[in-house]
Assembly symmetry: C2
Homo-oligomer: 641 residues x 2
């Protein structure tokens, strides 16, 4: 039992700010290498020195208009009542915009303001003010002026100003090179065949993308085996060439943890473990005068470690600030627990309901990449807090623009593949609308509408007494509300069985009789209500079903689960079976309805959703999934309860 | 006289939103071409279709820990008081993180929680919960699940999720191609010799940089002559290949304006002139089913037109939202006038003084690129307003992060090259501190300190009565305040004369005696005070000096001005003469002091400035300019008035 040891390690965990400071102090002491680039190619780069103008812009007195150049002092007597006649060559010359003003002229009169009399004479009716319509030398940039200070990230307009002053090349900080080594015996490349026990390596691609977006040059290397000598070799080669070395995985407490030992052997370890969740098992040290980071293997931990350490290191290297990350106060829609003593980073969905921004946690697991892909924001629970309660105001860092959150429709209820299609169709339409689903099951969806936590719910609840769908539950739970129901979808429910139906399943009774391994859905899911109803009809008890306790939260997880066990069987929709290549034994055609309050239906977002549901694109894409019938001409049904 | 015509054109100016809508509606009707890319290369690109998972991740039940796999049901009786002994192979197998869980095992016990007894037996003291420490199939991504909707800009983490589901390629919207044609007979490339009458073309580089940063592919072409046939040819070739064509210049009302005629001949003109300042003379039309924009020639107008039209067009093309532009309320530090009937876009400096963000306008001229380079923000004065008064609260779009504005020191007073060096040294130090100078002259600098409009002032004011610098004026104007003076700099003032000193100037008297063309500084400038003092000493009247009325605002503009006229002469500092290669006739060594309130001196920013002034880097860089002596050991002088 290592409980005591673990506690010791836990107490040694550094605050991440402290671990970062070690790195930043180290970099600040290093000279920043720079290189000379052609000005146009230096856009996005950071000046290594102040840049001074090589010439003035304009470098001569330039006409700012099409017109005539005159000596202002000689036009004093011109007046509308007594026009002054000027002769070309002596009294004026014609100039176009950009032309040099020849001596002794010192003003320009716009061509629209002269009356041409003969080939070489004209009249003016107003005196010219000295230097009018002339861009004097250096109006924009003066020779010798500092155009850009040191440490300035060059924007397109800056490059333009430099070229305007004939600065053709500029010294900029070299981009930091980052060597990335994925490591682990279980890893394979994404294009290799995925056998059981082999995990697809994709963190390296994420790291490379992030490094590039932060101004670094990533070098993604081949997968390194969990072998001390190989890791040693990688670290030596990496630190020889790169400015920062990332070694992915190898930082867990597992049997193949060599990273720490090798860093210790070749250099020194600064940090082993930080007080955060996820991201805790990071290792930071220095080898060969180069920072080495042992990044944890789980993708969410890894992503946070990249943001906490690699992003500020790369910006410090370039001498510029990390871009500000927008934040916003939100209300916790659900309780989020946390460990005392460690900072906790929770990925959340954020939606605007009744004028408030509600944040609901996604999966907390560090291995669920999709919790980052789908997140609208990140909520930080500081160390020393046991979490936040429902209704607490907290701060969320936003991963999407706020305007997009305003357009997001919060969906609760039964999982259905058509909801993702709906979201995609809406997003395609205006670039920012979308549906954020929460797979809570039909009954929880109804409750979310009652509480106002969700805008719309998708439900398919069979009323065993009447044999009808949805309306009995809507009337039972949403008393006093006016609900709009969009009965747009029929879908096939049935038994999902492995490809080829090896157990020759024909119906519900076979589950008990053939001792199949059933894969169930969670309580409150419409599919589970249907299954229980069918069991009752067949007079089968729940504990006669092996696997009844094993709950999955989506149709697709049931289908995927079924595919790996020849004796498995689960209930779900046809499209889920089709998606994984499973067989399907139809049991029922059910009504999947979308419900919302009448107020929401009449809102901008409600109408957008309604029109997306009726669109041809939606019908086409959903019916292509299989097992669905979409009625595009559906009329909304208003139910006053 | 074309006054009437102009008024007609003016009335025809469209609101820019309307002109943009024409473009966006046109693009929305076009199909969006797409291409298939390798997933890692698709980062930053926008999905053309929803992307579904090709496999589940994990695609097998995977151990989440290093430990042993067991059948949970068989461990029910394990307890600390009566450990349960398990035998390898039958009761358990060893698994490492990521290993597949072999049938019939359904739980993992961490290796830290088992006591190994013999080579193939061990004890456990706690029952396992079914599925503990196992990542079930599809925990992260389920086969067939929609990973990304259509119209999603792929981030590194998204690419990771796709690869994790073995999606190796993805269909993304093609980047819009933008053909850029600079045009004008007066234009030369930046590397060509700049003769009078030739302007350096640099808008093309700005356009190309902006297009790339907005997700487009720029194609910058050679300069097109102001010739109808050449412009016609460019537009035909451009619209054949590109998705958007930009023709720079040719959109003024000048004699070489062919853009509008050619667009009309080949297609149709949608917009000719918009109700904005700058940016008004834009031309938008359609040729060969491709949008063509005639972008005004002045760099500031051009930049705004790029942001108003090209940015939203390119984002619409890709089907994503234009990124939000941060805004902030600020207080107008000075009056900003505006034309009734047109939107006015004013580049401003923003600084935090006494807890308020004060915005002061930079040059309003559309030809001053540096007004964009130096701007901290843009203030929009809506049409129908005659401007804003000093003290009005207005909204500024920020061009720099707010945290950087908090670190900005507002400088007022006499222009000196050392102030830019100071700013650069500060920025280099922490990446965000800087000094924003306002070249108002010494006396105006003192007044800004009195009003609290600036943090520090740089002054060199000779008191003719006592022959001393600065202190008399500080005591006169800053009664009741406690001022800290940093007397860090001595600089040489003198007469700046053309290279080789063709008029053999030896002193002030020569200006009158040799009828030189004097280039003066503005009222309140310390240099002008010195010059007036010297004139008085020599008993010369101001109207005996030719050019006394011609005012420049910086030493460098005086020097640049002197260089183009063999009879010119101006007063200024040695470094300005040196910067432009002019000759210098020394007149006086003057004290250039930096002053501020005691409170500001003791603030974080004040101390940063003080330390930068004392730094070796500052001394080195300033003395390298020539004519300066920096005393790094200077002690601050506190003056209670």
């Amino acid at each position: 039992m290592k409980t005591r040891d673990e506690r010791t390690i836990y107490l040694e965990d550094k605050p991440r700010e402290e671990a970062l400071l070690d790195c930043l102090s180290f970099i600040r002491k290093r000279p920043k290498p720079y290189e000379r680039l052609k000005t146009a190619e230096a856009i996005g780069r950071v000046t290594a020195k102040p840049v001074y103008a090589g010439v003035s812009n304009p470098h001569y007195h330039a006409s700012a208009m099409d017109g005539i150049a005159v000596e202002a002092g000689k036009t004093k007597n011109a007046h509308e009542s007594r026009p002054m006649t000027l002769k070309e060559g002596t009294d004026f010359v014609y100039v176009d915009t950009g032309h040099a003003i020849p001596s002794p002229f010192d003003a320009v009169i716009m061509i629209e303001h002269v009356n041409e009399r003969a080939q070489d004479t004209l009249d003016i009716i107003e005196p010219a003010v000295p230097w009018q319509h002339i861009r004097p030398i250096g109006e924009d940039i003066t020779y010798g002026e500092m155009i850009l200070p040191q440490g300035h990230q060059i924007r397109p307009v800056d490059a333009g100003a430099l070229l305007g002053a004939q600065v053709l090349e500029v010294d900029v900080i070299k981009k930091p090179e980052v060597a990335i080594y994925p490591s682990g015996n279980e890893l394979i490349q994404p294009d290799q065949r995925a056998e059981p026990g082999k995990l697809i390596e994709f963190n390296g691609t994420i790291f490379a993308g992030l490094v590039a977006s932060w101004g670094g040059v990533p070098e993604l290397h081949e997968i390194v085996k969990d072998d001390r000598a190989m890791i040693r070799q990688a670290l030596m080669a990496g630190t020889e060439k790169a400015d920062l070395v990332l070694l992915n995985a190898g930082s867990s407490a597992g049997s193949r943890d060599y990273t720490k030992d090798v860093i210790e052997e070749l250099g020194e370890v600064w940090t082993h473990g930080i007080a955060t969740r996820p991201g805790k098992p990071v290792i930071i040290g220095c080898v060969n005068h180069t920072i080495v980071i042992g990044v944890p293997g789980y993708p969410v931990s890894a992503h946070f470690v990249m943001e906490w350490f690699v992003e500020p290191i790369l910006y410090e290297w370039q001498g510029i600030q990390v871009p500000e990350k927008p934040e916003m106060p939100v209300i916790a829609g659900r309780r989020m627990t946390s460990n005392m003593g460690s900072e906790d980073f929770v990925r959340v969905h954020i939606g605007k309901v009744n004028g408030q921004y509600i944040a609901n946690p996604l999966s907390r697991s560090a291995s669920v990449t999709m919790s980052l892909v789908k997140a609208d924001g990140i909520v930080t629970i500081p160390p020393g807090h046991l979490g936040v309660e429902q209704g607490d105001e907290i701060t969320a860092r936003l991963l999407k623009p706020k305007s997009q959150l305003d357009q997001t429709i919060l969906f609760s209820g039964s999982h259905d593949l058509s909801i993702d299609v709906l979201s995609s169709v809406m997003k395609q339409h205006d670039g920012q609308s979308s549906v954020t689903p929460s797979h809570t099951g039909s009954l929880a969806g109804i409750m979310a509408i009652r509480r106002g936590d969700a805008h719309v719910a998708g439900i398919h609840l069979l009323d065993p007494a009447s044999g009808t769908y949805n309306d009995p539950d809507i009337r039972k739970w949403l008393k006093g509300m006016t609900i709009v129901k969009l009965p747009f979808l029929k879908r096939k429910q049935g038994l999902i069985v492995p490809s080829g139906n090896p157990e020759q399943v024909k119906g519900i009774r076979d589950i008990r009789e053939k001792n199949l391994h059933y894969v169930n859905r969670q309580k409150g899911a419409g599919t589970r209500v249907l299954f229980d109803h069918l069991l009752k009809q067949e007079d089968i008890k729940q504990d006669e079903i092996e696997g009844y306790q094993r709950e999955m939260f989506t149709h697709l997880s049931v289908a995927a689960e079924v595919m790996v066990d020849p004796k498995a069987c689960g209930m779900g929709i046809y499209s889920a079976a089709q998606a994984v290549g499973a067989d399907f034994v139809p049991v029922d055609d059910e009504s999947y309805d979308v419900i919302m309050t009448e107020d929401f239906f009449n809102s901008d977002r409600g109408q957008k959703l309604f029109h997306a549901l009726r669109s041809e694109a939606f019908k086409e894409q959903v019916e292509a999934l299989g097992g669905y019938t979409v009625d595009s001409d559906v009329e909304p049904v208003t139910i006053q309860i």
